[in-house]
Symmetry: C2
């Protein structure tokens, strides 16, 4: 090593030692005759001292350097007179007796500080400088530690990490694949995996008992906020298990990570059906750090002559505790908020249960105080509470109310960032109807097993067949999902049929899996956790970009390396391709 110590490790006990340090100049202060340098490396910051009296030459040399210069110094550790309790090395400094410039630096485009002056675009372009900042470095170290602990935990439980291939075959079901033209096979393409789904199932058929992999997956989506074309999953599969085993083991994994990384023992995991989650929270990924459940009011409010409610498929609301004092202006602002296209509400009705015992609402014209009081009772409302009510199409009303609930939770600071509520959602619908293409799609994927008791409905009542599928939700974030898989050839064929795939088409796409089912496929199931999202949750950030070393922007570009980029005509030709330009 060019150094004897790192910048983060020296303490009072080291005083008197001769050390060599390497690092970057974080900042310099000249106090007239004394120059201090904060020297930074991966492990911390150490203070270097140069005195004009002790060594004029070094003192002068140091002054010629600037921020982010890379230097190597040797010197003696001494106790500081002016201690800094904010950093671990704050009790010592190094009196430098030799100084070597390893590399200089131009002015950096933004300050390398916790609070930087660089905007996101600039920091992405110079991501290698952004990474020097504590917050980014710490996020990446957290990510490493979480990956390491996840592997340790799974290894302990006899899971075997198996690498599945990255160059696979395109399947039209689901999202778009990224494709890779083959030079050796003209006109043919590999695809990058959206998940190792079929391979992990083949591993189970191959007799592997517990598989896992931290694996890169790829999805060519129309990019949206906080999606990345490449992302990482903790992918798992097990044989001879039931849903209960998956719940136990992955609760164990999440618990292990919370304890090891955050020193937190999370509450018991809750389990909720998809049906109940939609009914009570308007979403299949409810944030359970606070209550504020949706209450349905059809029975109470319909048939009183208020057209908006009478014509609606669903009238429902939430109770916002102790907000009856909201002003007209505040209510108007909320009404505008729910009308935003992302929320899609048509309007907002309020009922205030005032502390003086009165009840006031925006629908006083249509409902007597008695009727409103029945409403309040449905919410178990107390004096001082505010009811916010919406009406319309069932799905849309639930969604909008679910969003409003989260918004009110945030505004009232009920979503404590230090609190973690973990929850399984189960019994998802097996199929989703698509109006546009007039067919059913697998809600999870076509390998998901239906619930045993719903199998008879597969011929007659597709919309109500539930899947043996489950999602893991923490604080309103979908962390992962999985299912018990189909392992029977006939059932898999049935499933493809239900999805409108001809037998021929099914075999063309998944022939190898159907073939594999002929040779003793065991009952099996699994789960995949979104690792980027899990790390973001632990890091306390909303954006997965913050926990990825070199992320792409929302248009799928890496603006640091400027990719994707045009290629040579010769490269294109080698791949048996021509650009197709729309006329």
């Amino acid at each position: 090593m060019l150094r004897t110590s790192t910048c983060g490790e020296l303490r009072k006990d080291d005083c008197g030692k001769e050390v060599i340090l390497c690092g970057w100049i974080q900042r310099m202060r000249d106090l007239g005759g004394m120059t201090f340098i904060d020297l930074r490396d991966h492990y911390g910051i150490a203070q270097l001292a140069f005195s004009i009296e002790l060594n004029k030459e070094l003192y002068e040399k140091a002054k010629t350097f600037g921020r982010e210069y890379v230097i190597k110094v040797s010197g003696t550790v001494i106790e500081r007179s002016n201690k800094n309790p904010n950093i671990p090395t704050g009790e010592i400094e190094i009196i430098v007796n030799s100084l070597e410039l390893l590399n200089s630096s131009d002015n950096v485009p933004f300050t390398i500080e916790d609070e930087t002056d660089g905007g996101e675009e600039l920091r992405m372009k110079y991501r290698y400088l952004d990474i020097r900042r504590n917050i980014v470095r710490n996020n990446l170290i957290l990510r490493h530690r979480m990956a390491f602990e996840a592997r340790s935990f799974l290894n302990q439980l006899d899971f075997v990490e198996v690498e599945t291939p990255v160059l696979i075959k395109s399947t039209p079901e689901g999202a778009r694949d990224f494709l890779v033209p083959s030079r050796m096979n003209a006109g043919q393409f590999y695809a990058l995996p959206q998940s190792p789904q079929t391979f992990k199932q083949l591993l189970m058929i191959g007799g592997f008992d517990r598989y896992f992999q931290l694996v890169k997956c790829f999805r060519d989506e129309d990019f949206r906020a906080d999606r990345q074309p490449e992302f990482t999953q903790i992918d798992c599969e097990m044989s001879f298990i039931t849903k209960k085993d998956i719940f136990e083991i992955f609760e164990g994994l999440i618990r292990h990570l919370f304890i090891k990384l955050k020193g937190i023992k999370p509450d018991d995991f809750l389990v909720q059906s998809y049906h109940d989650a939609m009914k009570y929270y308007g979403t299949d990924k409810p944030d359970l750090r606070f209550g504020m459940r949706l209450v349905e009011l059809n029975d109470i409010v319909k048939g009183k002559g208020f057209r908006v409610f009478d014509d609606a498929e669903m009238v429902a609301g939430i109770k916002v505790e102790q907000c009856a004092a909201y002003t007209r202006k505040q209510i108007d602002e909320l009404t505008e908020w729910v009308k935003r296209p992302q929320i899609g509400g048509k309007g907002l009705v309020y009922v205030k249960i005032n502390t003086d015992g009165t009840i006031r609402s925006s629908i006083d014209k249509f409902y007597s105080e008695d009727e409103l009081r029945k409403c309040a009772d449905a919410f178990n409302a107390d004096e001082g509470d505010l009811l916010l009510i919406m009406a319309g199409d069932k799905a849309a009303t639930r969604k909008a109310l679910g969003e409003l609930r989260l918004e009110m939770g945030s505004r009232l600071e009920l979503r404590d960032p230090g609190k973690f509520k973990c929850l399984w959602i189960e019994d998802f619908p097996l199929l989703e109807w698509d109006e546009e293409t007039k067919r059913y799609y697998a809600m999870h994927h076509p390998f998901t097993s239906p619930l045993e008791e719903d199998i008879p409905k597969l011929g007659t009542d597709l919309a109500n067949v539930r899947a043996n599928a489950y999602d893991l939700v923490i604080n309103g974030v979908e962390i992962g999902g999985g299912s018990i898989r189909i392992h029977d050839k006939k059932m898999q064929e049935k499933m493809f049929e239900v999805l409108g795939m001809s037998k021929e088409e099914a075999y063309k796409q998944f022939g190898f899996l159907m073939e594999a089912f002929r040779y003793g496929a065991p009952p099996h199931g699994g789960i995949a956790l979104g690792f980027d999202r899990l790390v973001a949750l632990f890091a306390g950030t909303d954006s997965i970009r913050d926990v990825i070393a070199f992320p792409k922007n929302n248009a799928g570009r890496d603006i640091m390396i400027d990719s994707p980029a045009p290629i040579d005509e010769a490269q294109l030709k080698e791949l048996h391709l021509k650009l197709y330009v729309k006329k």
Copy 2:
């Protein structure tokens, strides 16, 4: 779990227990009134017993099953009368009292046994069945354990695993990239990384101190035996280090793996210059499990009138101990062997130092016994030894002799598969001249630093500039390589210039790296180990295909999933591409 125990864990102490097992029928034996099933799962084999006397119905039911059927049984563990000392569960069997068929199986296309009747092609097509075989399963478990131990070791030493992107940018230097057309950016492409080289250097510039990653890399080569288009590296980089630190840490890693996985403490690692390796072994990846060094004979044999030697740039040979008794037929066969195009020898001269004190050779006409004895002395040959001598162009002669040395080592069983000789090769040439394109190429890659003392030669004597680069070789297999990198912008520009890249071209390709060098790049270096090859070495197999779960064949095809494959016209159009058909 559907079971209470695995098939590998029951012992004599478990006798009397009621257990439930799940697994595959490995084989069935009917002994008239008793049927025994070997039930197999991931963990081992347990013997199930069905008796016509105890339960006729179960006995009959069991007989209807066949190999590879998946069953679930419950029963009582008892001590076997007929113990099998060859398997860990050989002291017990299970008297079955209930039997459930979980899945049936068609006849498998080859036997699921250690010695199978399936050829490689068939086993690749049904890889999920091949994986059921002990040998394949154990290789994949070994791979998992090696990855896990490598991570543990590096984590312990403060290495941080950072995931670098898979969708990057194509660079024309080096081998061919696999390309990924961008749907969102018409006419533009991502490339898959051949290694995370530039990203790990950017991490160092970003202040990371010790990086590692087990990472998939991709190379679109004209496929050769035992190359895979996707392969895995243990990729590492460190700042503020010298070559010595790399050697120490990665010797430590290899040692750790040998101790943990094979219970072997390997000998001290040797260090050899590229120059010496080529001179003494005719290769830059010598197998040091045996001696048989190349000895150069120019000074002794030239100028005696033997044209073949006189006209040759180099005459050199090896000493094969105690093989002077080789017959004419054996020597002829060896001569044919060296003349094969892969070896490229033009012929083979022998000198036998007979046990009766005489010396005989195929060049007796040209050399006196005294002259031949001088030859023998150069090899330090004893009575009974055989000298095999070749002549020709220096590089070709060394290569052919190096191959012959390996062949003789194999024939004489000097390459003990239980012995491991680890070796660093250092001081590689920085550049390689290519006759075809009439330019120098980087032997390692363009980011490799020249040796400090050779920098002055960069202007004048390119062929003799040595790189601060090193390879790790074990038993003649190149396991990895790395270098101390260039961290100075001017030196990197100089390097691109030497490689015939215009400044414009260099900035177009590596602008982000050149830009990064402006902002305080630390001295750094690293190494990448070929993980597939390392696992193959530990598994005792010559082919990396044996240690990859789902490998591709030598034509880059996955014959199990039948990929690559044609895609829809619509998909092609979405990617702004047309197929280009040669006329």
